[in-house]
């Protein structure tokens, strides 16, 4: 599983990366957390607000600082 955090380096984006890493540890799922700061890529996802959470190429949340628990739910829905 590939978890991407889209954001151009704002405080919330950094916090979301930390929360995603926490969520991955909690679930024990095999996943890599990648920070995407490149603007072409962020815009390519078609979002207008950051930070955004992307799992396996699908944007699941935008413009919101999710807690680790909320990310755990998204990981669960994706079916490990």
């Amino acid at each position: 599983m590939k978890i991407e955090i889209l954001g151009m380096g704002c405080a919330k984006c950094k916090q979301l990366v930390a929360n995603a890493e926490k969520a991955v540890k909690k679930t024990g799922v095999q996943a890599e957390v990648v920070k995407v700061e490149d603007m072409d890529q962020i815009v390519g996802y078609g979002i207008m607000t950051t930070p955004a959470l992307v799992i396996d190429g699908t944007v699941l949340s935008a413009g919101k600082l999710l807690s680790a628990d909320e990310i755990v739910k998204f990981i669960g829905k994706k079916g490990l």
């Binding site: 890529q41 815009v43 390519g44 996802y45 207008m48 607000t49 944007v59 949340s61 413009g63």
Partner: protein, 316 residues
């Protein structure tokens, strides 16, 4: 309601003499701080609930293919209620342009959104009264609408940086928010803002109280009174780098108007603090040619300066 409690605290509990400069400054500080924080908590909460009904995506859908004038008015109004953070300015700008929102209409949004924000309005309402707060909203809207119309007429679409990006992935955002989601969002948002600004508010009110008590009245009338023509443009220029400190700047300005700074000059200064932001320009440089940024800043800056002169002329 707050006033008697503060009087009691200062004169009965702290046993400070009535009428002394220090007691008045302390009283002024406590009264303003409590009042502003109460207003901040209540109003930011209400505004964030309203914001959950608007998203940049919905706003974009409304504005796409809108014509000049109607589009500019709508964009400025939607700018007030659509959540916006300067860190998202770039994806938002590109998102608007690609969806067919005209450039001038996009600019109306970009001007109104940060300028007419709840924190600035609360501080204005709490420290200057509701009339000035509404005056600020009204003139902010006029500046945003006209700036967008002017930029639209300049036909500067070629000054938007070309962006080559391929579509990657898909978007599957969650379902509609429940009432509980909205309340949770508003609570978090309110705490977030308060955490960010409380120190500036306290320092701003503290300095304001000091000025209120110790700086002689009319001290600044000579430099920043309404007869001094260069006070307005100077105040506008000084406001540009002060972006993140709108919360701290307004209490200071409030105290300075008591000491002779003309109200139009003060309004121009506050609009520059919120509406013209250096960090936002740096971010937007990635999607706009320098020339477009300069046009953007100049058009908005001139609008703000004219507003300042107008109010210095009217509010006599």
């Amino acid at each position: 309601m707050i006033k008697p409690i503060m009087d009691w605290l200062v004169y009965e509990i702290f046993k400070m003499p009535r009428g002394a400069i220090l007691s008045e400054a302390v009283n002024f500080f406590l009264y303003d701080t409590v009042k502003i924080f109460l207003l901040l908590v209540v109003i930011i909460f209400i505004v964030s609930i309203i914001r959950t009904f608007f998203s940049p995506e919905k706003t974009r859908a409304i504005l796409s293919q809108k014509k000049t004038y109607t589009g500019n008015v709508l964009a400025s109004l939607l700018g007030i209620v659509t959540p916006f953070c300067s860190c998202s300015a770039v994806p938002l700008f590109l998102g608007f342009i690609e969806a067919g929102v005209p450039l001038g209409v996009t600019f109306s949004f970009l001007v109104a959104s940060p300028m007419i924000n709840e924190v600035a309005l609360i501080m204005l309402w709490g420290l200057f009264g509701w009339k000035i707060a509404f005056l600020y909203i009204g003139s902010g809207l006029v500046v945003a609408i006209t700036s967008g119309i002017v930029i639209g007429h300049l036909k500067v679409e070629d000054l938007v940086e070309k962006f080559e990006h391929k579509k990657v992935g898909s978007v599957a955002l969650g379902a509609e928010m429940t009432v509980k989601d909205r309340i949770d969002f508003a609570r978090e948002y309110t705490l977030d803002i308060l955490k960010k600004i409380w120190i500036y508010v306290v320092i701003g009110i503290g300095l304001g109280a000091w000025i209120h008590g110790y700086v002689p009245a009319d001290f600044l009338a000579k430099f920043a009174g309404r007869d001094n023509w260069f006070a307005v443009p100077l105040a506008t220029l000084v406001g540009i780098p002060l972006y993140s400190n709108a919360a701290g700047v307004i209490p200071l300005v409030s105290a300075l108007t008591e000491k002779g700074v003309a109200l139009g000059t003060a309004l121009a200064f506050m609009m520059a603090v919120t509406g013209l932001s250096l960090p936002e320009f740096l971010i937007l440089r990635r999607v706009m040619k320098l020339k477009l940024l300069v046009i953007f800043a100049s058009v908005v800056g001139i609008g703000i300066i004219l507003t300042g002169y107008l109010f210095n002329f009217i509010l006599r």
